[in-house]
């Protein structure tokens, strides 16, 4: 009897999870379906939930057409790759050193400095956008991939510092001390002992930094005009109000979602593990 009750509870649990999961996934599915439906089907009443003649014409069009918007879209994908990879590298290097300093070194005003980082992490970037625009236009730094890398890094590093600090704190200090007694200096111990042990943390933070810069929109919208446009700006323009072709709009959405979705499905476990361990210590 108890066993049956337990079974029933489990079944309800799975049903609840599957219903919520459907709500999460439905908008994605709908977009994918729309992107491969023919225009005739998209406009037919009642709506077809399963396309009768799936077509990949729109995807082909996006990768072969010479239309200026399509070209900008492709350019945007490349730019976003450059910017996000750059930001990931900068954040991991700076974040590792600073996170280590906060986890291990003793120095005056350590807590105050850490709180300063935490505080600035909470300043919404939107507050300083006009000042940034003003300064960048004076320094002739508008519409440049390098400017975006610098800027994004400055917003994402505090987050990485905080997460790496939480990660380093969990590694026993004895290991390093042993290495230092054996003749390693601090930098040597960091590279030989701490970093190899923190690979999962570095991977999680790297992915998060990559995704955060991949999805940034406001700064890219304001600071780029043509050659440094990122994918988010390209999608926004590509799918702007003037476009009435819903199929093409959905296709843009699918292409924009592919990379984050793949990264999440492959590395989701690490990201969530990294986030939870950081949050507990925080």
């Amino acid at each position: 009897m108890r066993r049956i009750k337990f079974r029933l509870k489990r079944i309800f649990l799975y049903i609840a999870i599957i219903i919520i999961m459907f709500c999460v996934i439905a908008p994605f599915l709908w977009t994918i379906i729309s992107s491969i439906s023919t225009n005739k089907e998209l406009l037919s009443v009642p709506v077809h939930f399963i396309p009768e003649n799936p077509t990949f014409e729109r995807y082909k069009a996006i990768f072969t057409s010479d239309d200026t918007k399509v070209v900008a879209f492709k350019r945007g994908i490349i730019n976003s790759f450059i910017v996000s990879s750059g930001v990931t590298i900068v954040c991991l290097v700076i974040g590792t050193f600073a996170g280590y300093a906060f986890a291990r070194l003793k120095f005056p005003r350590k807590n105050m400095t850490l709180q300063f980082f935490l505080f600035t992490n909470m300043i919404p970037p939107i507050v300083i956008i006009i000042a940034i625009y003003f300064i960048f236009s004076k320094l002739d730094m508008l519409d440049s991939v390098i400017s975006l890398i610098l800027l994004y890094s400055s917003f994402i590093t505090p987050f990485v510092i905080w997460m790496m600090r939480s990660y380093f704190v969990t590694i026993p200090a004895d290991l390093e001390e042993a290495a230092m007694i054996d003749g390693c200096n601090r930098i040597g111990a960091l590279f030989r002992i701490i970093i190899p042990l923190s690979t999962p943390g570095l991977v999680a933070n790297g992915i998060l930094a990559f995704l955060m810069s991949w999805e940034e929109f406001l700064f890219a919208l304001i600071l780029t005009t043509s050659k440094a446009k990122t994918i988010t700006v390209a999608i926004a323009e590509f799918t702007g109000k003037q476009y009435v072709d819903y199929g093409l709009m959905a296709t843009g959405g699918v292409i924009g979602a592919i990379i984050p979705v793949l990264i999440t499905l492959i590395f989701g476990r690490y990201i969530i593990k990294g986030l939870t361990s950081g949050a507990v210590k925080g």
Binding site: S34, P46, Y100, V127, I128, I130, T264, G282
Partner: protein
């Protein structure tokens, strides 16, 4: 001789190493975040328009104008609605999901990743996807409603001025729930099983041990979740920009979008900075309250 060397080593360890480790981050920081923040304050007292390179100081004129601007109050109200709804829906749904996936179930990692999925998408892509979901005749919501004979419930989800902001918040909730789930999951994992078992031995049922033991112990995490949600609600921009651009009329305008339109469409840069200063002050108060609470809690431990 030997002693002196040790002293020097200590100085190096205490002063020079931290400087070397922190210099890159601190310098990037001071220039970008702190410098520009102060500069924003300065600009808000000028008549800078973004076109001419000269500007004059005009005192509080921008702020006076702002407090008389009807759009400002619409935008502020929408941000408050955003925060209020987000403090109900994703807060509790996130907790619910965390409790669900925290039970040892099969495929736990897959479920977690899928629930977290919307969080990793950019708002622009989410905006595209959801504009299509809300589309009045072809969108999935209205077509499903008409397919099951409930045409009367079909709405102009983002075309109706009274409804738009709520439709947008719902989309925002869809995005942020995965994140609140992860935070709560962290909290649940940090609670030792012994405490829960002790309550069971004392005769508490599932629900009681959750409500009287687990829920109060999630207090710290709850503070983080609340602060994150409020801060996010006051900086929302991308979603509104891609889905409605503040329309119809000003019905779904929010502070960030209001600032953007004033500064970059109407070339009233200094007026825009005044808006962002107000936005900063709101978030600053939330953060200050949050930080003082966490510091006090750390002091207790």
């Amino acid at each position: 001789m030997k002693r002196r060397r040790i002293n020097l080593g200590n100085i190096g360890e205490k002063v020079i190493t931290p400087i070397i480790f922190l210099l890159p981050s601190l310098s990037v920081y001071l220039v970008f975040t702190f410098g520009t923040l102060i500069y924003s304050f300065v600009l808000s007292f000028t008549d800078y328009d973004g076109l001419s390179s000269r500007f004059n100081f005009i005192g509080l004129a921008n702020y006076i104008k702002l407090f008389k601007d009807a759009t400002f109050y619409i935008a502020l109200k929408n941000n408050v609605i955003w925060a209020a709804v987000s403090l109900i829906v994703p807060m509790f749904l996130g907790l619910f999901l965390a409790v669900l996936v925290d039970r040892k179930i099969r495929g736990e990692n897959i479920f977690k990743s899928i629930f977290y999925l919307p969080q990793t998408l950019s708002f622009v892509v989410i905006g595209v996807i959801w504009s299509w979901v809300y589309e009045p005749t072809k969108g999935i919501i209205n077509s499903t409603l008409s397919a099951i004979g409930l045409d009367s419930l079909a709405q102009q989800w983002i075309g109706d001025p009274g409804l738009t902001i709520y439709s947008l918040v719902l989309t925002g909730a869809w995005q942020i729930t995965g994140y609140t789930m992860v935070l709560y999951l962290a909290g649940l994992r940090s609670i030792s099983q012994d405490v829960i078992e002790a309550s069971r031995i004392d005769g508490a049922n599932n629900w009681q041990s959750f409500w009287y033991v687990v829920y109060p112990m999630l207090r710290n995490i709850r503070t983080v979740v609340i602060a994150t949600i409020i801060i996010n609600s006051f900086k929302i921009f991308d979603l509104v920009f891609t889905m409605t651009q503040g329309g119809p009329g000003e019905a779904s305008n929010v502070l960030a979008l209001f600032m953007y339109k004033e500064a970059f469409w109407k070339f009233r840069m200094s007026y825009g900075t005044a808006i962002s200063v107000i936005q900063f002050l709101i978030i600053f108060i939330v953060v200050a309250v949050y930080l003082s609470r966490t510091i006090r809690q750390e002091g207790e431990v």
